[in-house]
């Protein structure tokens, strides 16, 4: 008889997603220990927490990343692992990985100074989209309509204190319909998809887009699977736009919220699927 698997849930806020994960574990009689990120200590070289695997659900990219590194170094397995989280949680690293894998993605230029960003914007053409490399929920993403606006926005950006606010991710504006698509991949399997509709050009559910189920065609499933693989695999939410030349993947999220997605389907219990994946990954 092998010992029962012990899982940890590394989190910041108990959102419905985290509550569902805890409930799914308790329904299956699996130990899933809540580990609040704000209170954790990671002694370097010290003993790791007594769990086999930690599921990262922290809302902070940086907290999650360092915690994962510390845990992995102590021999604890992780979902998603630090490498995948680092890549997918940073739009620059993510775009590099998508491009290397030959996945269609919007044309993007990285610039390291305000002047270079202006040249990148001119090169991409207007309207263009400017995003912080790390961030989510559509925050601090700007659509830049012309050069005058570009100069204003850049001046404002470089006045912000954070160093990553002065690294510029400049992207072509994709003239998509008033919606985009989100596909959740768990392991190597696309398990659910949704359409996010909004009259606003940013269609994040967090910004009030309405959501409905998206039946996954073979083409979309394959695209989502390839995008998840390009990040290194795990629990990943693939964001897709419908461009004039077909689907483009604009980002892949490493610690996805799935409340809105779960609301569109009764076919799949997302928390339970994530838990199954974590259990499998925890097997020696």
């Amino acid at each position: 008889m092998s010992e029962p698997v012990r899982l940890g849930l590394f989190y910041t806020i108990l959102r419905p997603e985290e509550k569902w994960l805890l409930a799914a574990a308790s329904a299956r009689g699996i130990s899933l220990e809540p580990m609040h990120d704000e209170g954790m200590l990671f002694p370097i070289g010290g003993a790791p927490p007594p769990v086999d695997l930690v599921l990262n659900r922290s809302v902070s990219h940086i907290r999650g990343l360092y915690a994962l590194r510390c845990l992995e170094s102590g021999g604890v397995r992780t979902v998603n692992n630090a490498e995948v989280t680092e890549r997918a949680g940073d739009k620059i690293l993510g775009s590099l990985a998508l491009s290397r894998a030959g996945i269609p993605t919007p044309r993007t230029i990285v610039a390291l100074t305000e002047d270079a960003a202006l040249r990148a914007l001119d090169d991409i053409g207007y309207p263009a989209v400017l995003k912080p490399p790390i961030g989510s929920w559509g925050r601090l993403i700007a659509r830049v309509r012309d050069r005058e606006e570009a100069e204003q926005i850049l001046e404002h950006k470089s006045a912000l204190p954070s160093p990553t606010q002065s690294i510029f991710y400049v992207q072509e504006h994709v003239p998509k319909p008033e919606r985009d698509l989100r596909i959740l991949v768990v392991g190597d399997e696309p398990i659910a998809g949704m359409v996010r509709r909004s009259t606003h050009w940013r269609t994040n559910a967090a910004r009030g887009a309405t959501t409905e189920a998206l039946p996954l065609s073979g083409e979309l499933s394959e695209l989502a699977r390839r995008a998840a693989r390009a990040m290194g695999g795990g629990v990943l939410a693939v964001d897709v736009m419908e461009g004039p030349k077909g689907y483009v993947v604009h980002e892949v999220n490493p610690t996805p919220e799935f409340k809105a997605l779960q609301g569109t389907t009764t076919q799949v219990d997302i928390a339970d699927r994530i838990l199954s994946f974590a259990l499998e990954a925890a097997q020696p």
Partner: protein, 53 residues
């Protein structure tokens, strides 16, 4: 039991664990359970720049 840092009303976070977010029933402020022994609540955190999904 503890008190709302905004309006001082009593708030009951019976079975909650750290990180739970709930509105104060008196003033509606979003509160977060910081710790359970002893129970401490604070205004729910504002999103930090690297927060996301």
């Amino acid at each position: 039991m503890t008190n709302c840092p905004e309006c001082d009303a009593q708030v009951d976070c019976g079975a909650m664990i750290a990180g739970e977010i709930f509105p104060c029933r008196d003033c509606g402020t979003e509160l977060e359970v910081l710790a359970t022994a002893p129970i401490t609540v604070e205004r729910a955190p504002k999103e930090a720049e690297d927060w996301g999904e």
